[in-house]
């Protein structure tokens, strides 16, 4: 099986967000960057599918700055075979431009499966996988939390409000992976050593500007100072009164 996994380098979710001097971006100084957690499910799934098939290739593709080589190495250490860095200093604010760059790269090879994480935890976009599928004319299932593949047929499950959708689709396809699909492995020392020698191709790209422009990045409005109503069950009466009379939610 020939599988492409598209990954992203993102700030760790514990990062303290400091806004850069331009007022439009994250101040990256001192920020720890990691492989997007949802992409870990994608890498893991690709590795398992290749292992089950007994043959094939898992290629990792990442749009990002030079430092994203490190992120690709993490996926290689988990067991992916090779990496491609689509190198650009900035990731476009318009996800359609990101999708175009990734689709152009994917288009050069024929894949059985193309995987993305369901969401990037930095910009909270959930669309790049779907946009790429549309650009490539491939079927797409998003937020997959369970997957069965047999030959060129797939059955996926995805969580919706109040239930689970069971979806049939043909391969090749683009899938975006959700929590629950698998338990991603940690790179072992042997994998980390091996990853250093795996091929990592760097291709400079110039994404378009697109139609979305960042106007400002600001801290969220402070929630108004909360109050401790009291201690223990004795405070419940006052809590209910406040919820009714002050917050007016009861």
């Amino acid at each position: 099986m020939k599988i492409a996994v598209c990954i992203k380098r993102v700030p760790d979710s514990e990062t303290r967000v400091k806004i850069a001097a331009d007022g439009k971006s994250l101040d990256a100084a001192g920020v720890k960057f990691v492989l997007n957690p949802y992409d870990e499910f994608a890498v893991e799934e690709a590795l398992r599918r290749k292992e089950t098939a007994g043959a094939g290739e898992v290629a990792v593709i990442c749009l990002g700055p030079a430092a994203a080589q490190e992120t690709i190495r993490t996926a290689l250490a988990m067991g992916a075979d090779r990496g491609v860095l689509l190198q650009a200093d900035k990731i476009p604010a318009d996800p359609f431009e990101t999708a175009k760059v990734i689709a152009a790269e994917l288009n050069s090879t024929s894949w059985d499966l193309i995987l993305f994480g369901r969401m990037a935890i930095d910009d909270y976009n959930t669309q790049v996988g779907t946009l790429v599928a549309e650009l490539l004319g491939l079927p797409c299932v998003t937020a997959v939390s369970h997957l069965d593949l047999e030959g060129t047929k797939g059955v996926a499950e995805r969580e919706i409000e109040g239930g689970i959708e069971v979806v049939d689709f043909p391969l090749p396809a683009v899938l975006t992976t959700d929590k629950g699909l698998n338990e991603p492995r940690y790179p072992a020392l042997k994998g980390i050593m091996a990853a250093k020698k795996k091929p990592l191709e760097v291709k400079p790209v110039q994404p378009g500007v697109g139609a979305l422009e960042v106007a400002a990045l600001t801290p969220p409005p402070e929630r108004k100072e909360g109050k401790i109503v009291g201690e223990g069950a004795g405070a419940v009466g006052e809590l209910v009164r406040l919820l009714r009379e002050e917050a007016k939610v009861l």
Binding site: Q127, E134, E161, E165, L212, A215, L217, L243, A247
Partner: protein
Amino acid sequence: MTTLAVLEQRDGTLRKISHEVVTAAQRLGGAVEAVVCATGPVQGADQLGKFGADKVVTLTNPAFARYAPEACAQALAERAKQGGYRTIVFGATATGKDLAPRVAAQLGVGVAEDLTDLAADGGGLVVTRPVYAGKALLKVKVAAQPAVVSLRPNVFTPVERPKAGTAETVAVNVAAGRVTVREIKAAPAGTLDVAEAQIIISGGRGLKEPANFKVLEELARAFGGQAAVGASRAVVDAGWRAHADQVGQTGKTVSPSLYIAVGISGAIQHLAGMRTSKVIVAINKDKDAPIFKVADYGVVGDLFEIVPKLTEEIRKLHG
């Protein structure tokens, strides 16, 4: 200029997000055309004039019995191309997140996703979306024509602005699609999804063991069917609760009217999923727990004493 508001239905009944989508579309000024893909008449669609829809269009095809991603996308993209709409508004629900980028790509644009605010700005739009786990807000100018956006559920409170809306039903021809929903495994009857509930009572490790969630379920029941029980990542990872109930970065993002966090310390991943809730109550034995920093009201102490007392008080109110 007209805004196209994309509604959502399941089994022939309009979903709640539809009112929010129409309400937000109405804010942009100009006419609002609401559109829904269905097999026939949709229950509740005739009420949308109440929320400001000038016209409700039902696109019908037998393929729309269940969510048909490719067929719906085709039908909506074709409608969008004909109509010359300035903005197309979706709800950022499980379905909307899947559908919006398909339609957008066919129109040659990206989606401004998961918005908590939007406003017209000259010929374009200015939108706000939470990023970095809710620790920052990104303000984005959308120059795309049309602008395709999706709204965070439960943020845009439906407002009644009655209009004498018209209705139209159009049978559409669409390709069957390669991706098909075979079935929907529904959650047990009577369980409300956390993503849709107006009141959420979430539990964390402070509950001590899975069986103790019954104290939260009793409280939820006391609210008379408007409340859902959510969970922190820790207890989902421990297998105490289903992932469908998880609130937070690797779970659901919720914005209920009332969020009650019980025995949850308030890790950043959890706050990412609930900080846009309107009113937050925290019940925790540790007075220094970070959850108290985002809570409007806090009660410090033993949840096994506090929650049953609260259940009793709520029952009295709903008596």
